[in-house]
Structures are given as C-alpha cells and as structure tokens.
C-alpha cells in the first residue's frame, strides 16, 4: 500500500490508534504484552508484531538490569554527589537511544508499508506502545466499517 513514511505522510489519514499495554506479570520492570490486538488482524502478520514487541522487551530488560555495571555506575555517581551525570550519559539513556533507532527502522521497513506507525513508548510515559492505523485517503470509504466491526467484536 504505502512504500515509505513520506508517501504515507502525503496520502494517508489516521483511522484509529491501537494501544499495547504494559505486562506487569513480572513486576514493575518495563515490559509490553505480546498478546496480538484483534484490530490489527488484517493489517499485519502476528509474528512480525510479536517479534517487534519481544525485541523491545529485551532492550528494556537490558536497560533495567541490576548487575555489575549498574552498581559501578551507581557507586561512582554517588561518590561524585551525582555531578558526573551532568556530563555522562547513563546506561538507560544509551539503551533508550538504541530503542528509538530500532523503532524508526521497524517503522520504515515493516510498519509504514502496511499503513501503520509505531510510537516510541517513552513519548507515552512508558505506559503503552501506540500503533497508529492509517488508511489511504482515496479508499477511506472502507475504513469506518472495518473499525465499526472491530468495535462490535470488542463488546
């Protein structure tokens, strides 16, 4: 349908947004549910979305790992009264940059061609992974009915 983000920008209109919620089964660590939202049934293959979410989850695990490196960072920072954070980037921030790059890449390669757009969770308070669903303006007649049917199945 769309070949890249720029094409989508010019010809698409937003139909709806789907939100993948946090998975708290393992505590307060940042983790998103891998359950496939039904609204995206005919938009994208399950395996692709699952793979994206699993990769994101693994990035967050890496960022929040409590281990040797985080202890070292914590102790060093404490010894300098945390002034060192003014010049140094924390490990979490480094991983967030990687995540942002990964989402950009996924959008360009996989999601934009299918008329979808992922929003980085950090822009939504790390609460949800927002997926915007776009429809080509020319074929907007089909979209209301598809979202109508997904509404009725949710009830």
């Amino acid at each position: 349908m769309f070949h890249n983000l720029q094409e989508m920008q010019h010809t698409a209109s937003l139909v709806t947004k789907v939100f993948i919620q946090r998975d708290y089964s393992e505590g307060t660590v940042c983790r998103f549910q891998t359950k496939f939202p039904t609204e995206l049934d005919n938009r994208i293959e399950r395996a692709l979305l699952e793979q994206t979410v699993k990769t994101l989850n693994s990035y967050y695990v890496e960022a929040e790992k409590v281990g040797g490196q985080s202890y070292l960072e914590g102790c060093l920072a404490c010894a300098t009264a945390y002034i060192v954070f003014l010049c140094m980037e924390t490990r979490y921030e480094k991983v967030l940059k990687k995540i942002s790059g990964y989402i950009q890449e996924q959008n360009e390669k996989i999601y934009a061609p299918r008329g979808l757009l992922l929003t980085d969770p950090i822009e939504r308070g790390m609460r949800v992974l927002e997926i915007s669903v776009f429809e080509d303006r020319g074929s907007s007649g089909s979209s209301p009915s598809s979202s109508m049917s997904s509404c009725s199945t949710a009830r």
Partner: protein
C-alpha cells in the same frame, strides 16, 4: 493591514497539567508550596555557617584541620542531595492523551457489559498477578490511566507518581522512583552531619571550658548554644527517619505501602517486589538503574496549525505529533479538563466533521469518582 504575530515556541513544561512549578526553563521541577523547603535550606546553611564561624577555627588549631575539611565535604554532599531530591522529577506519569483515555474507556465498557440503569458501575480495578500475588491496579480519574503497580496519585502535586513513597514538604517535592535514593542519602548524610556538628560542639565547649570556664565559653561563642539546640531536635527526627527508611529499603517497601499496610499484618511476607534478601533489596533501590524522566519538560511543543481544527475531521499524518491536545474524538469536558482544551473542544464540535470515526459516537459517559462504587466503599470505611 495584517499584523505579523511572532509566537515564541513553547516548551512542553509550560503546558503540563498538575500543580508543579518549574524553574530554569523546565530544568527544575518542584511542588507549589516551597516555604518549608526554604526553611530546611536556611536551617542547614545557617547551622553550618555558625559551626564554621565559631567552632572550626578553634578545633582546627587545637585538634586537627581535618575536622572543618570533613565538615565542608559533608555539608556540600548534603546540599547536593537536597537539591537533587527537590529539583528532579520524582517519576511523574504523564496523563493519558485523549485517544488512550478513550481506548481504556472502551475496554472498561466491554469488560463491564451493560449496567442496569440506576445501578453504580463496578469499581475500575484491574487484577495483575505478580510473583504469585494478586495486585490490584486502580484507575486514576484525574490522569485517566490504570496506575502501574506501586504508583499513586499525589493530591498536592496532582500527578500520578511511579513508586510513590510520600510527598515531603521539607524538600518541597514528591519522593518517588527517580529521586528516592537521593532522598535517602539526604536523610542519611544529614543525620551524620547533625551528629558530627553536635559532637564537635560538645567537644569544643568542654575543651574551652577547661581553659576558660563554662560561662565565659558561652559568651565567646554564642553560636554554640543555637547550634546545639537545632542539632538536638534535628538529630532525633533525622536518625529516626533514616532508620525507618533503611527498614523500608531492606524490605523493598514504600512509605505509602507501609502506611496502608499493604504487606503487613495478614499479608506479611507476601510483598511480591521483595527479593527476600536484604542485600539484594538494598542494591536494587540504591544501586539500581537511573530511570529517565518520561515527562520531556524541555521538549518544544509543536505549533498547532490553525487549519487543523477547522478543516476535515480525521487528522493527517503531519499533525499527528502535534495532537497533544486536539483530537478527532470529541472529549466530554469535566472538571479535570485543562482549561486550554475547552475552547478547542467547542471548535471541534462546531465543525462537525462528517467522517468522524465511529468510535467517538460510541463513547461511554466518562465515569467519575462519585458514580463509582469503589470510592463510595472507601468513603464509608
């Protein structure tokens, strides 16, 4: 004749809801009432100044010059921790944007089914299993989100804060996930500083009294009396507070959970967040990762182009990022709607876009605490 209006690009902190005050162009974030924080600063700086003025010259000469040097280092560390606790984002969770709030409302509607008219809808609670323990996630009517585990809404700052500990007026801010370790280090080092000053005041008075007599010592160094008074009362409260927080850290609990008795009494030993190992708990809280702020206070707000609200309803890709406030689905304004959204809601309603998404038509009436059965149970307790 048209006037050219130069609009300054706003930063996001200027439009953040909640009752925080921001300084240094969004770099500093505090609660509204800062009076007690200034008192804390005054007491610490005042007492230490008296110590450096009256005791240190005598002790440096008669005992060791290391004494004032160590006092200076300790004092600087205390101030750094205090400022870090007071000025940083405690872990505020941003409020749900309208689409997310609607999505959650739809899910709740779907889960509740149809409620007979006249009956209150069931309380908005989600159950999650964490480490074989059922934890209830409550819905926040102000922020329109289901609060993550351990988060709580601070009524003073009007924000949901992640891993909410308590709101501390002495530091003029909430204590939450992002600044708890600075708060703990502040209480710990302030206790040490208080003990240090108190001890050396006594040493100084004793040493001088041996030479000059007690009364003449007090006349020569009147600051000592003031310092001893301040330190005596501060000591008991700070040492007690530090001890209490050490206990909480070793159990991986927050003050909020302790007060509510979430993991004590009949629930004792069931805290799902605890590693059941004191060292591990301490390491996680004090040496864990440094969480970034999700608020993006200094980001630039996208200028909302005037055509977006008045032209065709569905927003185009261009304006997607700009839609922090305006949306395709009309909001039902309630007392929590920020004031700047209300005019745009009126504008959206009047333009009445013909291809408005049908989701909006099925929007359930936004529940409020008054209609929710859960809060009425809480009120009755």
């Amino acid at each position: 004749m048209s006037a050219v209006m130069i609009t300054r690009k706003l930063r996001k902190w200027e439009k953040l809801p909640g009752k925080n005050t921001f300084c240094c162009d969004g770099r500093v974030m505090m609660a509204r009432q800062k009076g007690i924080f200034y008192l804390t600063l005054f007491l610490i700086i005042g007492t230490c100044s008296l110590f450096f003025a009256f005791e240190c010259p005598y002790l440096a000469v008669h005992l060791s010059p290391a004494i004032p040097v160590f006092a200076v280092l300790l004092f600087l560390f205390v101030i750094a921790m205090l400022l870090r606790t007071s000025f940083s984002d405690p872990g505020v969770l941003p409020r749900a944007l309208p689409e997310e709030a609607n999505f959650i409302e739809m899910e709740i509607e779907a889960a509740n089914g149809s409620v007979p008219s006249g009956q209150r809808p069931p309380p908005r609670i989600r159950n999650v299993q964490i480490n074989n323990q059922i934890v209830k996630l409550k819905y926040c009517y102000t922020c329109k989100i289901f609060r993550p585990p351990r988060a709580s809404h601070c009524s003073i700052c009007d924000n949901c804060v992640d891993r909410f500990d308590h709101h501390c007026p002495w530091v003029g801010n909430c204590v939450g996930k992002r600044n708890y370790r600075y708060f703990y280090l502040f209480t710990l080092t302030l206790s040490l500083l208080t003990i240090y000053i108190f001890a050396f005041n006594i040493v100084h008075v004793v040493m001088r009294s041996v030479d000059q007599g007690f009364l003449s010592t007090l006349k020569e160094t009147p600051g000592t009396v003031l310092e001893v008074l301040v330190c005596f009362f501060t000591l008991w409260s700070m040492v007690g507070l530090t001890g209490f927080h050490t206990y909480l850290i070793s159990l991986n609990q927050t003050t909020n959970e302790d007060i509510k008795g979430s993991w004590s009494g009949k629930n004792r030993g069931q805290n799902p967040y605890s590693h059941k190992n004191i060292v591990k708990n301490c390491c996680e809280v004090l040496c864990g990762p440094t969480y970034p702020s999700v608020l993006d206070r200094r980001g630039l707000m996208q200028e909302d182009s005037p055509t977006a609200a008045n032209s065709e309803g569905p927003c185009s890709f261009d304006n997607l990022v700009a839609q922090t406030v305006k949306t395709t689905a009309p909001l039902i304004p309630n007392e929590h709607t920020p004031d700047d959204v209300k005019p745009s809601i009126a504008a959206e309603k009047s333009s009445a876009p013909k291809d408005d998404p049908p989701l909006a038509a099925k929007l359930p009436p936004l529940a409020s605490p008054e209609t929710d059965a859960e809060t009425s149970i809480v009120k009755n307790q």
